[in-house]
Symmetry: C2
Subunit: 233 residues, 2 copies
């Protein structure tokens, strides 16, 4: 990862039968002490995120776009307008990289160099495939909708044929993936901790996300209350 | 963008002399009603973000990594370990795409299809160049540090020669960039608003980020207070 360099405490995790990072390109070379090897960490990072960044190589060069997603087991579903060039390219079998990152805090160090961030990041590489089977598409759209807005798939009008045709659904296997997580206080140079070093504050400023107060649609009929699926979020 | 499709209210913005999206690849084709044309919007999105996602094409395929950055005028500075393959490739003149996205809320619609997100997204494309001049590198590192942790560049120990050598600093011009912003309530199909349609709640659930309580480094000397540069953040 290219987040600013700093030393995080290592954290051992049990290795399951299906390892992360099975290939050279999915093996963490820089900052390997932050790499995780448990697929549970991959699932946790993906399930906690809201959007990811989908990268691919088009004729005009690399393109990175924010993209909604949803996970079902070892499959990541992505979707977007069936007319978008990026989605068309991905659906035609372009190799892609899909990255989900949460920033958890700013790491303040006694030196500029050791400033860093606490974060969780999952990188998935592979070939996205178009989901064309009607039942699979329906399932994928349900997974995508539930990731974005839990409970909405069954509580709102489901897609009709025209809406289905306007939506490209892609699937990406989680076979090739890596996870990096940084937690904890700054790593420091010995000299910055030595007696007589300037008394500079160091530590972590946590960054959290929170849901605000629901803002009803101006066209909402009188008396339609905010449903549980939103208030309990 | 591949965020889920929905209709956002357009918002006019004055066009400055240096337009956004000057090339075909940086012109927003899908969801053009959400495209902005004012460079002030580009600056605002970049200045509000904390990390971006840097995409490039390596031999093994596309790679997208979270990356710290800082902006000075029309220049975006990126940095990372000078040993990272991705940074080395970018420094050697690989075309890159750098994307910064903020999610501002979940848009709940009366239909699954019109669920969406409110977001601000800047996409910058171009050739990253290594910053090698010592004064320029120093300046770039100051910009990067101040973006991550305002006030830290002068309040903490600045880099020595070894630390400078370990850090790759790249510059990316903001010449080719596009901005998309979605705000406001869901766009709906007429049928879902018609009399007799099911009374489904619709609106926006805002998503906000907030700083938590600073967590001091366990090695912090007694009596070192949290500085203003952090408490006023």
């Amino acid at each position: 990862m290219a987040l600013p360099g700093c030393h995080g405490p290592g954290q051992a995790a049990p290795v399951t039968t299906l390892p992360l990072s099975p290939t050279d390109r999915s093996t963490v070379h820089r900052g390997a002490r932050r790499a995780r090897t448990d697929r549970a960490d991959l699932y946790a990072v993906l399930d906690a995120g809201l959007i990811g960044h989908l990268g691919m190589t088009l004729d005009a060069g690399p393109l990175v776009i924010p993209t909604g997603y949803g996970r079902d087991g070892e499959t990541l579903y992505l979707h977007g307008s069936s007319g978008a060039a990026s989605l068309r390219a991905a659906a035609a079998g372009t190799p892609v990289c899909f990255t989900v990152t949460q920033v958890d805090g700013i790491v303040y160090s006694r030196s500029a160099f050791h400033h860093s961030m606490n974060y969780r990041c999952a990188v998935v590489q592979g070939m996205a495939r178009p989901v064309t089977d009607p039942d699979d598409r329906w399932h994928g759209l349900g997974v995508l909708t539930e990731h974005l807005a839990p409970g909405s798939w069954t509580a709102t009008r489901q897609p009709d044929r025209r809406e289905l045709a306007a939506t490209a659904v892609l699937a990406l296997d989680l076979a090739e993936a890596s996870v990096k997580i940084r937690t904890g206080p700054p790593g420091e140079d010995e000299r910055d901790l030595a007696p007589g070093a300037p008394p500079v504050w160091a530590g972590v400023l946590p960054l959290t996300t929170a849901w605000g107060t629901p803002e009803p649609c101006p066209l909402l009929a009188v008396g339609v209350a905010v449903p549980d699926r939103i208030t309990r979020r």
